[in-house]
Symmetry: C2
């Protein structure tokens, strides 16, 4: 499958995240303006303003419901229409932006440069759920806590998850304030202190946005669950390990996580990801047979998505040293659950998902050195600091550090697509 | 302080939950109608329709912002204005409804019978947080899990909490569907089965609605935190103990809780509760000194609120046997944290609260037999079933069972106020 060509020159760039095959969705406005937030589609270095496209009549062939949804200040109404509707919108946008498109002047009038806009979180997230889906993450962290029994028996049987915080979901670029709190002074100790966290961490994840969702009491069968995911983004689930360590029993993480979660501005639609469907990793030998509600009768696939995490420090930026890659993950390898299985599990008890709800994949750690999805693992709880090109070391994140996570799909013969950036800098609390 | 009298006859009833001193807020519409949801204030057996009151000009002396907030379909905008604004609204409503009010005809035209309306959840809850604040609940449940170490050391130092599910917050009267899921077959066993929960439980709690909230990164000092709570309701945090038991490590409760949480329709404002302020229970002797952010420099108070939980079964209703009281809690005795301390803790790491966010107190269990706030404790994990007047036993809840929680404040010389009912019936999943 070769790449589709666009008359937007920057979309032809070999290195672009946003060729015509991608067209990720976002919510944006002109930077610094008081414009209403509006939906956009990324193409090369440009954004197609869908609100402007509606006004210009460019979306007239679409249904009234779709046109109405494209005029909204968030993606919720569009997601509520489901993946087929998003697919219809994408087809129309691809027709407008394709190399052979007639009458491109009107469309060009709805484009503006990504450099000139600011973003907000793409959907109003009613509930944000974060999963634990990487065996290696569970194993590596478990080894620090319970070396004789690192992976709990429930891990293999169900997708473990907890509810995260919606209010502190941030869009890429917003600062992350170092949280204060009561923290465990050292592993295994019951001594605590109060102050700014000394163990601020990142977590490399993918986020999945939910489409129509389900009525309370009505589970979504796993074979229908993949279609409930309308698109994916990159997610950084910031964590304060010392706060988390003290508070986490018996009810799980709270202040150690809920101060910030950063999302990339772009939602890569499942249609763009379809060429990168691949078989899920085989179940581990010690894992028991799956309960039927988690076992698809039909197709069983995940997405082959690479993630790269880069770190830069103030000293590195001062000396113009580029950010250094500290971790490389691969979703299809590192998650033992597909998003379809996560959706089926989430609803099997009758819990209702709503349009725009967000699922986090959980930290994506792989089997190799350098594929661990958080500092806690990368530095073995701080005992093996990262060595940086500036001569500095990092056990955990320090003020001024900037973490950037990118993701992309790339395979010979297939058009490369990317997710843009999920980036944020650590600041002292105001 | 004697009771304020109203020209609404039913508000004079000795047994009413809603004398003029109370005036709890709700969101309602005429039952079965397609009316827009509107804000109401309860008085006796009646509701004052605030949207109608705005139209009739009855709220004209109030600020434009307050009048606008009273016309909304949820309480969020009103809560965002803060407790003083709610106080101003209450004063105006009390003037309109007081025995000596002039020109009551117009006001009477905005009243309708509570029996003729239906309710919805009073605020759009962005995030729902549930705390663990009863020592006896922690102790009783801990004894089942870790008899040598029932109460974890963190319990005494910080308010333990987790994020609950917003999408499945229900208003009193909505059915609760028995959840399905992978569940632990027996305590201590790693054997599981899939099916409807066999250990469906209730949890007796108060809910607190947040006012203006805080900007991310800016903690709310504990001395200012009480004013962030605009009102309280009754909350039942339904739980499936066998599902919860299997999934809960290491990230806390998920499917065992997120299928349903029921709220009473009425928000009792803190002005109505002010006469029932009382000193918090003394800290337990084994509890260490509090970190400064949890220790008020000024006034330190909680609310003296009684809760009663009633159970009825289909067989009891068939034989016209009244629901039986199974539990009596007392918030000021049973919670080791005040809502001010919960707010201060929630924000100390910079987490932002938004108007209409909901805090659950956690299960309110007291020291005495019959004051335990859930079936797990009341029946000692099912080993001592409740004996019902129908001759039936209950270890956990069965289909058709109806749980009703009420709450009230009552003290000689003070006007009694009540919270209305938080009731729901268990049904098979559809």
């Amino acid at each position: 499958m070769s790449r589709r060509l666009s008359w937007v020159a920057s979309a032809q760039d070999e290195a672009t995240d946003f060729p015509l095959d991608n067209l990720p969705l976002c919510v944006f406005r002109r930077a610094g303006s008081a414009q209403a937030w509006r939906i956009g589609a990324g193409i090369g270095t440009q954004i197609l303003d869908l609100r402007a496209a509606v006004t210009a009549g460019l979306l007239d062939p679409l249904s009234a419901a779709l046109i109405e949804a494209c005029s909204q200040p968030s993606l919720n109404a569009l997601f509520a229409l489901g993946t087929d509707a998003v697919g219809a919108l994408r087809s129309r946008l691809q027709d407008l932006l394709a190399e052979q498109a007639p009458d491109t002047n009107k469309t060009a009038g709805c484009l503006l440069a990504q450099a000139e806009v600011e973003h907000t979180v793409p959907a109003q997230v009613g509930d944000y759920t974060d999963f634990l889906s990487s065996y290696h993450h569970a194993y590596n962290v478990g080894m620090m806590l319970r070396p004789n029994d690192p992976v709990l028996p429930n891990f293999h049987t169900i997708p473990i998850a907890y509810h995260g915080r919606s209010s502190s979901l941030l869009v890429s670029g917003e600062p992350v304030y170092r949280p204060r709190g009561v923290q465990r002074v050292a592993h295994g100790s019951n001594d605590t202190r109060f102050g700014p966290t000394a163990r601020l961490d990142l977590e490399v994840e993918l986020g999945a946005f939910i489409g129509p969702g389900n009525r309370r009491g009505h589970a979504i069968p796993v074979d229908e669950a993949g279609a409930q995911v309308v698109g994916l983004c990159v997610l950084n689930d910031w964590s304060a390990r010392d706060i988390q360590s003290w508070e986490t029993q018996p009810l799980g993480p709270f202040l150690g996580k809920n101060f910030a979660t950063t999302l990339s501005p772009w939602v890569v639609c499942t249609q763009a990801l379809a060429p990168y469907r691949t078989e899920p990793a085989p179940r581990r030998p010690e894992a028991p047979a799956l309960d039927a509600y988690l076992q698809p009768a039909g197709e069983h696939w995940t997405y082959e998505i690479h993630l790269e995490t880069r770190l830069s420090t103030p000293a590195m930026r001062e000396r113009s040293l580029p950010a250094v890659v500290v971790s490389r993950s691969l979703f299809s390898r590192d998650s033992v659950w597909t998003f379809a299985q996560m959706v089926a599990h989430h609803t099997v008890n009758g819990c209702n998902l709503r349009p725009g709800d967000l699922l986090g994949s959980g930290t994506l750690s792989g089997p190799d050195v350098g594929s661990e999805g958080c500092m806690l693992e990368l530095t073995r709880a701080g005992s093996k600091p990262l060595q940086l090109p500036s001569g500095e070391e990092r056990r955990f994140l320090e003020d001024g550090d900037e973490v950037s996570i990118t993701a992309f799909c790339e395979r010979p013969g297939l058009p490369r697509i990317g997710f843009g950036q999920c980036v944020a800098r650590i600041e002292q609390a105001p």
